[in-house]
């Protein structure tokens, strides 16, 4: 994403920025950046109905610049599109003040975002989004007999591009043809899915992971076949990396990313960093349970004592429509940073982020044991679901 213009009043934090989103992932950042109440200005198309003096109407689609105050935001992960709905707040020759309009932010089209308060999280997000050097496109294919996930692992999102599920008959006494045929069909389907969903001009590395020998069989099949349909894969033979996973389910992706051989190669990707941080949390929970806590109440209490060494928060908490809720977490993050702790903001689109979101969304490693927090767990762990 390109940042064209930035004006922020550092006294009260309000100001505006102008961006050009360049790729699908940028829209994800924008989605995390924009909150209800922000003002967005962007070029858009609007159907305008004019009525002549005789009463005949004439509808026209006009291109115009509109400024709306955002009321709701919707983001489609698969299609990578972002729609902002809100009321017009600026005089316009076609659109009345207060009229509703839905802006859809598109790639390569600039927009201006005005916020009442650019907090630390938002600024960090801008920085992350505009740092183009970090992008390393990685694909992961996790599979087991009859089940495969073709995923794209990007800086801040893991997108399941294809899920393949085929029934594989078992071997039977005296005949395995059913089994073998079904396996070949399965490999063909996975191979085709890879070609269809992965752009080999961008993807730098494809991790192929499975239990047992399925991965070897798959690659052997697609790389050795004479058929022209797998030519793209054969040409990009060198970018495939084999690793081990325990299953073909989606959460096995994080297992792959935590594989020490793989992490060495991808140490700079956010996904691998997140997996590592969460791994540390679990190790601590095992070794020194009084130094690892999860849950908002526990983390806030620990932060009051300036005890947090590493804080892990999922970004879904900052997208909360409840402003007070968002502020609470922003405050927590700023506090932790203030006394020298590190903060990991997990992307809720990564498997590790999904895991953290299920683990109440916030977890912390402490500098010193605080066994008194254990008692807190009982009353604050009220489940809404």
């Amino acid at each position: 994403m390109k940042l064209l213009n930035k004006y922020i009043d550092y006294k009260n934090g309000n100001g505006r920025m102008t961006f050009i989103p360049e790729e699908g992932e940028d829209l994800w950042h924008v989605y995390n950046l924009i909150a209800a109440g922000d003002v967005v200005r962007c070029t858009t198309l609007r159907k305008v109905v004019t009525e002549s003096s005789t009463g005949s109407t004439n509808a026209q689609r006009v291109k115009t610049n509109l400024t709306i105050e955002v009321e709701s935001i919707s983001y489609d992960v698969e299609a990578m599109s972002l729609a902002l709905k809100g009321r017009n707040v600026e005089e316009n020759q076609y659109v009345k003040m207060g009229a509703y309009h839905t802006l859809s932010l598109e790639l390569q089209r600039k927009f201006t975002l005005t916020k009442e308060n650019w907090d630390a999280i938002a600024l960090e997000r801008v920085e992350e989004a505009c740092d183009s050097g970090k992008t390393a496109d990685l694909a992961a294919v996790v599979l087991q007999e009859g089940l495969a996930h073709v995923c794209l692992v990007r800086q801040s999102m893991t997108i399941t591009k294809a899920k393949i599920e085929l029934p594989i008959p078992r071997k039977r006494r005296g005949s395995c043809t059913n089994h073998d045929k079904a396996m070949l069909r399965f490999f063909d389907t996975v191979g085709n899915a890879m070609i269809r969903h992965l752009d080999f001009s961008v993807v730098k590395c494809v991790l192929v992971a499975s239990p047992g020998f399925v991965k070897d069989k798959l690659m052997e099949h697609v790389l050795s076949t004479e058929r022209s349909e797998f030519k793209t894969l054969q040409e990009n033979k060198s970018i495939f990396v084999f690793c081990h996973s325990s299953s073909g389910h989606k959460h096995a992706v994080s297992e792959v990313l935590s594989d020490p051989n793989i992490t060495a190669r991808l140490s700079d990707t956010k996904a691998a960093g997140e997996v590592r941080a969460l791994g540390e949390f679990y190790t601590m929970l095992k070794n020194e349970p009084a130094r690892a806590f999860y849950g908002p109440a526990q983390c806030l209490a620990a932060s009051e004592q300036e005890a947090i060494d590493t804080l892990m928060v999922t970004d879904s908490l900052f997208r909360s429509t409840d402003l007070a809720e968002r502020k609470k977490y922003v405050q927590l993050v700023e506090d932790v940073k203030g006394y020298g702790g590190t903060v990991h903001i997990f992307s809720s689109l990564h498997t590790s982020g999904e895991k953290l979101a299920l683990l109440t969304g916030v977890a912390a490693l402490l500098r010193f044991p605080m066994p008194e927090l254990e008692d807190l767990a009982v009353d604050s762990d009220s489940d809404s679901d």
Binding site: R173, K250, H251, K286, Y294, L358
Partner: protein, 645 residues
Amino acid sequence: MSRHRIVRNYIGVDSEYYEDEVFGRSVEEDSPLSPSLSQFIYNRGSVPDEQHGITRSSVDCVQEEEEMELPEADEEALNTMYDMGFEMDLCKDALLQYDNDVTRALNHVIENGAQQHVQEDRQSQSNAAQQGRTVQEDQLATALQSRLQVGGSGDSTPTNCLTPVKSTTPRSGSPPSTRRPLRDPASVNSTPTATPKAKKSRPKDIDVLGILNSKTDEKPLINVAVVGHVDAGKSTLMGHLLCLLGHVSKKELHKNKTESQKLGKGSFAYAWVLDETGEERERGVTIDVAQTKFQTSKKTVNLLDAPGHKDFVPNMISGASQADVAILVVDSTPGGFEAGFEQGGQTREHVVLVRALGVQTLIVAVNKMENVGWRRKRYDHISSELGVFLKSVGFKNNELIFIPVSGLEGENLMEKCQNPALTEWYSGGSLVDVIDSLDPPKRCYDRPFRLVVTDVFKHPQMGLSVAGKVDSGFLIVGTPVVVMPGGTTAMVKSMTTVDDKCVDYSVAGEQCILVVGGTDQTKIHNGNVICESHSRVRTTLKFKARVLVFNIDIPITKGFPIDLHYQTVNEPAVISRLISTHSKSNGQVLKAKPRCLTKNQVALVEIKCERAICLELFKDSKSLGRITCRYGGNTIAAGMVIEIT
């Protein structure tokens, strides 16, 4: 050749056009069929010869006879009773006797029912004696058959079996079957045809429970899973046993031997009996569970050869969850036993799993004893080390049987070992003796029918087939069934056992293959549960389970993603709530809402799945109420379903 083509076309037409009809209902032959004759039998109607006409008319006669009789009894009352599962003629007699009073007639029939069984058994025994086949098997078959006949014809004496089965008697005019291997006379009857006779006598009316009660001296069925560390010799042991029992043809064995030698893996010849896929042979490991059935002198054994490799534990779970008894194979060679038994070896994990999956009796086969010269010291060392561990897992002394064997040499498998090095100190029985001595497990025949799908495939002749183990209850051919959790309905067209024998019904504990119609392959998956429409299994997204946490590296927290395994199901799920931890000894709540679960804790948790799954409470169904949780290739917990929400 042209005649072959006709046959082939006919098969195609048959399965396409008669989708809704019920096929493969066989009627047992009365007189034994010579194998030379059997190959000439194929398909009713495949040749429009004269005999066919004769058959028709004879059946018509039967029909008319019956119709004429009907007015004498109150038709409605008769049908009521008929629908309740009693034989037509019995009902008729009773009704006439009691002037069409249904209640009294029913009482009469029920009372007489018991007598009838005895009679039929005696009858079937004498029949079986005539035939050169195993008594028990025939007893069941003929009892069944006489029932079929009684149900349809007006003839009340089950002795007269000849007339009604005319339509299935061999027809020399039939073209030889080229596609279907005919193994024995019994399988001749399993040709997927619906004879006019079979259509009339609806097998729905088989009194399965009655038959089960009457055939007490039948060889009990037992499901045996073979588990153990990779390369302990599970497949070789079982392959060799099958060879000794005569279940493997010399030709096949010879082929395996030469081919394995070609690959420089001569020792794998026996394992190849069970490891049949190219992948398994090439790598020399079992990947998926192999299933076969064999008979010993006292038992019918259903063998499930599980893979030992760590990556295939999910497959092993699907096999072991169907087992009543497990054989744990351990390698006795120096270093071999230790590798499997140490942390990370599969011996431990498998033992813990089979215990968690409800296996009560464990046979420990100390394998490869020839490598250690059949030394007693080694055997004792292994037994004592394993024994301590097995007891810590929860096996009691009387549930454990240790036995020294050699899979490769085939020692002490079937016959008692003659090797002086062993007989010197070992006096126990061989593996087969041990299997024979086991108590048959209790089956739930009276519970609703449940079959967990282990395999869905297209049978070249029969069409869409579903394999699985009947978990509880029984099913008769021709019954409409429901595939859960999808809820698709299907019709059971015919039913075969694992070894391709056609049957009319299947009962709890048996492995069977159902040929189904009215649905397609995309609607039935492994792990689905097949039940009857009036007693469906529960489906859920969320349930509570009491689990025992195993020896785990990282603690289990809320939101922990797991692979949920039970039976053949393998679904991603999440531990959504930790409700409480409990004391191991008395089940008292130690802590409500714990922060995390660490090793060896007993806890109540809530598990959420992504897709609906079929479960039952543990107290209702032992096998559908047990779950296993795995994470990152390790089994982290196992438990039972306490509450389905």
